[in-house]
């Protein structure tokens, strides 16, 4: 059981990292960003290209991968989000699902759907935590999530962070005080893509990765994590991610292995989500500013 909790904690860190980016876009745009996983996908593939295929140093690959993710974020903002500024949020949601599917299709075309291995940030043997073998990369992932969540929570209390919230609440009022909502929009998508890129870069080396690896297995639990945390709370996304990881893996152990319940993983995630939302419909920490 202990090993499952430890595994869940570190898997939850990946959910949390994606959820933090989802919350960022939701706070700024009231949009559900289904493309968040693919910012990680493009970062992992570009890093792979630079490090493994071209043999460049790790840091070049990492910077290149993150730059590609930010470029994709800015492109999505300019080409998809901006033209749909006054459309319904449902239309934007569908468009963002389209972005994710398009990105996956492009990676499949360019890179072929074969499993790949990206080198980790730090090499070295695993450590034993509660009986589970945890890679150094996973420890880094959890630490980075904690630091990023803290930094983003702080960001929303700065003048710039308030400007992001302000632009989402009243565009005219934002312009009246001198804020450029367009610049704010670019900032938000650039930052969300950077966070997504970090998630992909750190998570890909934990196993093997294929086109769509972030979207296929990570995105739904990440959304559950964001909702659990209150959808507008960065610390909530952090706590939500970790809780979902732990409950999911505890569920796999208890329901799946002990009682042979099929679909134990998904069952436990949604049971947790329903339970929390029944007791606290606003999520754990839902609050605007």
């Amino acid at each position: 059981m202990g090993a499952f909790v430890a595994l869940g904690l570190f898997q939850g860190a990946v959910y949390g990292l994606l959820a933090v980016g989802i919350v960022m876009v939701y706070k700024a745009k009231r949009a559900f960003n289904f493309a968040q996983g693919e910012f990680g996908g493009i970062a992992a593939f570009c890093a792979y290209l630079l490090i493994v295929a071209l043999g460049l140093p790790y840091w070049v690959g990492a910077v290149g991968g993150l730059a590609a993710a930010v470029a994709m974020g800015l492109l999505v903002e300019r080409a998809i989000v901006r033209p749909l500024e006054s459309s319904s949020r449902t239309i934007l949601l569908v468009a963002l699902v389209g972005v994710a599917l398009f990105a996956i299709a492009v990676t499949v075309l360019l890179a072929e759907p074969v499993p790949r291995v990206l080198p980790p940030l730090v090499e070295g043997g695993g450590v034993d935590i509660l009986g589970a073998g945890i890679q150094p990369q996973q420890l880094i992932l959890l630490a980075v999530l904690a630091v990023l969540a803290g930094a983003l929570a702080w960001f929303f209390r700065t003048d710039l962070g308030l400007a992001v919230l302000a632009s989402s609440q009243d565009t005219l009022a934002a312009r009246v005080v001198g804020i450029s909502p367009e610049a704010v929009s670019r900032l938000v998508w650039g930052m969300a893509a950077l966070v997504g890129g970090v998630a992909g870069l750190l998570y890909a080396p934990v196993g093997i990765f294929t086109p769509g690896f972030m979207t296929a297995t990570m995105l739904v639990p990440a959304f559950a994590a964001a909702v659990l945390g209150g959808m507008t709370s960065v610390p909530g996304a952090f706590i939500g991610g970790i809780s979902i990881g732990i409950v999911q893996n505890a569920g796999i152990y208890l329901l799946g292995q002990q009682w042979q319940v099929p679909g134990a993983s998904q069952l436990s995630v949604f049971a947790l989500l329903m339970l929390v939302l029944l007791i606290r419909p606003q999520g754990l920490l839902g609050k605007e500013a």
Binding site: L162, Q169, D170, A173, G178
Partner: protein, 235 residues
């Protein structure tokens, strides 16, 4: 030459012209009023001055220089709009709203404290409610917040669009009184109103009809002019 000189200003929405050549001059330090019926083009005029609406023709001089640039650049140069309908940030606190009012002068913490103190002295209610969400304020309090937010940018020319809209006569009087105080502290004010009561405190008054200024003169003189009031203000 005034602080603001507008001549033959034309603007509209898309291809629909609304302003057909607006001309007016506002002296530095004055309290000017722009009156007119619904749909006359008053809001359009203020939006054009604030840089929120493109101008198709005409000249605007501010402090002797041609007025151009983004809305943000105009706020920085001292032209600050208090928009019609208040437009406070509803899910932010009163204090956060005021902090955003100082967006163009952010980082200047001395000025921030000074302006905040001034806003709280003019509108003590805002001080009492500094941690309350703006969306939960009453209409009158939201209007005070919208004006206070404008003051946080250290304006030279404050454009106030229909502050009295939807307010009780008593609250309207309070808001007008506050604007008078702001003007006495050295801020040039242009108030857009449908409420002719504002003429009592106006040095200069303009009447706008269908996108043109049709009457301009002293505020007190216009208040006494029954013909002007009946013809142009509907009261």
């Amino acid at each position: 030459m005034g602080l603001l000189d507008v001549s033959n200003l034309r603007a509209g929405y898309g291809s629909v012209p609304v302003l057909h050549g607006v001309s007016m001059s506002i002296e530095e330090g004055s309290n000017a009023v722009l009156l007119g019926l619904n749909g006359a083009g008053k809001t359009t005029t203020l939006l054009a001055l604030a840089g929120l609406l493109p101008v198709s023709d005409g000249d605007v001089y501010y402090d002797g220089e041609p007025l151009t640039g983004s809305p943000g650049a105009r706020v920085r140069s001292g032209i600050v709009l208090v928009p019609e309908g208040r437009h406070v940030f509803p899910a932010l606190t009163v204090r956060q709203n005021l902090r955003l009012g100082a967006w163009t002068v952010r980082g200047d913490s001395r000025r921030f404290r000074q302006n905040l103190g001034e806003v709280y002295s003019i509108f003590p209610r805002l001080g009492e409610r500094s941690d309350q969400l703006a969306g939960t304020l009453s209409g009158g309090e939201q209007q005070m917040l919208a004006i206070g937010r404008g003051l946080m940018a250290s304006p030279r020319l404050l454009l106030i669009d229909e502050a009295s809209l939807g307010l009780s006569p008593k609250l309207t009087e309070q808001v007008f009184e506050a604007v008078k105080v702001i003007n006495q502290r050295g801020v040039t004010v242009l108030m857009v109103e449908q409420n002719a009561g504002v003429l009592e405190q106006a040095d200069t008054a303009f009447v706008m009809q269908q996108g043109r200024i049709t009457v301009a003169g002293k505020g007190s003189a216009m208040l006494d002019d029954e013909a002007v009031r009946e013809a142009y203000l509907g009261s």
